[in-house]
Symmetry: C2
């Protein structure tokens, strides 16, 4: 089940640096891609920075619609995460090809991919020079959700043998998010 | 032992989203802070994007020197990583206070913190509007090194019970980089 995450805590969904999926939609076209270079940029209102290459279909739909959903996939979505990062949505419908189940988002038109750990509905804050020079986009988070089996209400809570967020190392190789390590309070 | 990482592979040191330490130096002043919002921005020449808040001593030294070292600390440096993110270098010498051992870098004046998994010597690419608006800095990686017990030559290679990179969740709480998960090649 998705649970709403207060906007002031939305940065914690991506603070640990997981890889992401980004969905976009414009008119009757939609797409989803993998993006490892995404990070929080501000707390409240929450913003993200995301690198989205110039030649991608996602970039085209993002620029046309001004919206997207940034998601943190889990270790159960490894093959999906790799597949949608390895082919182009201009040529195939990735949702059909990889049987990706979606649901409507609450604010934006881009879809939510089922089975993720986190979903952040975003709008693009126009920064044309940044996009041009670095393929970098600034996104404002409008709504945030977490899978409630994985979220304590304030932080990630992964069980030893259960699904976890993932971190992209190189083509097809990821790391699961590992053991929770807390500094003893002095 | 530190081993040099070819610049075209430097992005892989941070691709999985670990938290970082950033050291800076200018004249006889130096500092080190923790920064979770750091990510690769380009492959070759490698660039990073890093958020460094306006009121930090690191920002002052970074702006004055135009240089820094971005490092990935390990699970053996948890308390150090939290400590240097929780106090200000204007008030105390963090290196002395936390007994942080350093070595000279190869190109920049900012020091390397011993015991890290990765070290990326960087220069600031001036983007004053970005710094002003988002506290965001674009860094070009000039030299990169990895701890050779943790680096295969092409990717991270963490042993089951050994030190690993870490990912910041929230104040004082981190995740270790977990199990390596590879997509089967079809």
């Amino acid at each position: 089940m998705r649970t709403a995450v207060p906007l002031e805590l939305a940065y914690r969904l991506l603070n640990h640096g997981p890889t992401t999926l980004i969905s976009t939609a414009h008119g009757d076209r939609r797409n989803v891609m993998a993006a490892a270079w995404v990070m929080p940029l501000d707390f409240d209102p929450p913003k993200l920075a995301a690198v989205i290459a110039a030649d991608t279909y996602t970039r085209e739909l993002l620029s046309a619609s001004g919206e997207c959903v940034v998601m943190a996939p889990t270790s159960e979505q490894l093959e999906l995460s790799y597949a949608v990062g390895s082919c182009c949505g201009r040529e195939i419908d990735k949702f059909a090809r990889y049987a990706i189940a979606t649901e409507p988002a609450s604010i934006v038109r881009a879809p939510l991919v089922r089975g993720c750990a986190a979903w952040l509905e975003c709008r693009v804050l126009p920064e044309p020079a940044l996009a041009e020079r670095y393929d970098l986009f600034v996104l404002e988070v409008l709504a945030a959700f977490a899978e409630d089996r994985l979220w304590s209400g304030k932080e990630w809570r992964f069980e030893a043998s259960g699904p976890r967020t993932i971190h992209h190392s190189k083509g097809g190789v990821f790391f699961a998010t590992g053991e929770r390590l807390a500094v003893p309070r002095s």
